[in-house]
């Protein structure tokens, strides 16, 4: 839990703390969004599991997108933890 007192500290340090808190909030939001999209893509992969050579490219594209989103979700989570260090 972060207190308003820390954010209201005089000078640049306080503003930096505010920025870090805001960045963390935004990174959380972005991570949640990516996670939600990942779930959506996962469902789409299930529903598009057509055994057809002609649409295989779509299945690959969806699988690739899912893998990329997983990776970016992990990256955003990691960066959020990095930012959180400012507040420790």
């Amino acid at each position: 839990m972060y207190t308003i007192t820390a954010a209201q500290a005089p000078g640049g340090a306080g503003e930096d703390l505010w920025a870090a808190v805001e960045a963390m909030r935004l990174l959380n939001e972005a991570t949640d969004l990516v996670e939600t999209v990942g779930v959506g893509v996962s469902r789409l992969i299930e529903d598009a599991r057509w055994e057809n050579a002609g649409v295989r490219a779509l299945r690959w594209a969806l699988s690739d997108l899912h893998a990329q989103l997983e990776s970016e979700r992990g990256e955003l989570e990691f960066q959020r933890q990095q930012v959180a260090r400012i507040l420790r």
Partner: protein, 446 residues
Amino acid sequence: MSGELNITSGGAIHVDSGAFRAVGHRLAALAEHVKDAARVARRAQHTLAQTADRHPATGQIGNCVHRLESQGEKAAKTAQGTLVMADVFELVELRTQQNLIGVGDAREALAIQDRIHELLASNPNIGPAADSLVTRWQNHRFDGLTDQPWDDTYTLARWVGAVLAPTLFGWAALWLGPEPVGSTMGTLRDLAVDVDLGTLPSGTRLTGESQAVTLRTVESRDVKPVAGVRDSIARVPWGRTAQVAVEKYTMKDGSVRYVAYVDGTREMMPGTDEPFDAVSDVELYMGRKKSASYEATLQALEEAGAEHGDTVDMVGYSQGAMIVSHLAMDSPYHVGTVIVAGDPVDPALAADQTIVRLENSADPVNALATGGTAGGSGSPDSFTVQREIPGRSSPIDPHMYGDYMNTGAELDRSSDPRAQALRDKFFHELGEAARVERTEFSAERA
């Protein structure tokens, strides 16, 4: 793709246009959410960039934003391509529908034309893409057919000759018998395309008088509900005395429905008592006439208690597939679901009828259907399963009953949503039956 399934929604259509379009729309929406995520992450990056010592994560978050933007763009393009392909599939479906209804229903044909115009006007690439799709399908619909082993060529030629004997084509086939199989199969393919009898246009009805057959019950017993495509094919009385089996499903609410299983050709030579012979093949395929085997199937249904208007689902192999295809188009029953293996014809079914076609890709009997229509027919749940079964010692090998059972087993294991829907709807419903009475019938020409 030996052994591997290729499931289409019929003809050149990889996936039903409605299902494909739905995926395109969902992906387009998801692509926007990816871009939203990128925008939010960018705000986080800008916020951090304002800090006095510019937090080291700023650069990494920036890279993440770029990748998310790129993924969002890529997903949006894939969605756009999917929607265009859905339009292409729809155009092929509509053109096929138009061909199938012909001049019989001008109003319906005109309504279809309006949508065709709309699609063509929406994107100049859709028309050429649909033409290209159909051309590619036409060029590949007989793949594998001419690459068969030679060993039993003469047997095949005799078979083809017997089937087509009443026509000049039969003599040609007999003459071509000693030729390499590739030539024989190529000729068979070309003849099938030339006579153009493999596709049954909307409104096709068998003509001629009903032929007299004598039907006797071979066996009657209670069985478990049919549980899958392999089981459906296995219940066709292939290799048994009976040629037709009918199962009466009494549901828990007391309602009754039926499933008929019809076998293929039993006798190649004419002049025997066997109704499931090559004469019936010729009558059904070349003449579109009622055959003794067709009559035997109708009598078996009547004998089993099916009344006009009852729901009768049908499973057929080879000639039996041709019979059930005709019955699905024109019979006193409501034929809801049809499963055919090695069907020499492709029927035009209504939007409330589901057809599942099993086609071993080098099957010469199946080749008589000439790939069916470019756009398929029946409900959106209808589909065609293709599997490459190379000939082992004879070109007729891919038509073998056992290979179709294996194709059915593969389909039962498939995670394709169309196969899943068949399990969830058709087989699940039948599985709810309180009682299943199976009767096997043997027929002879009277």
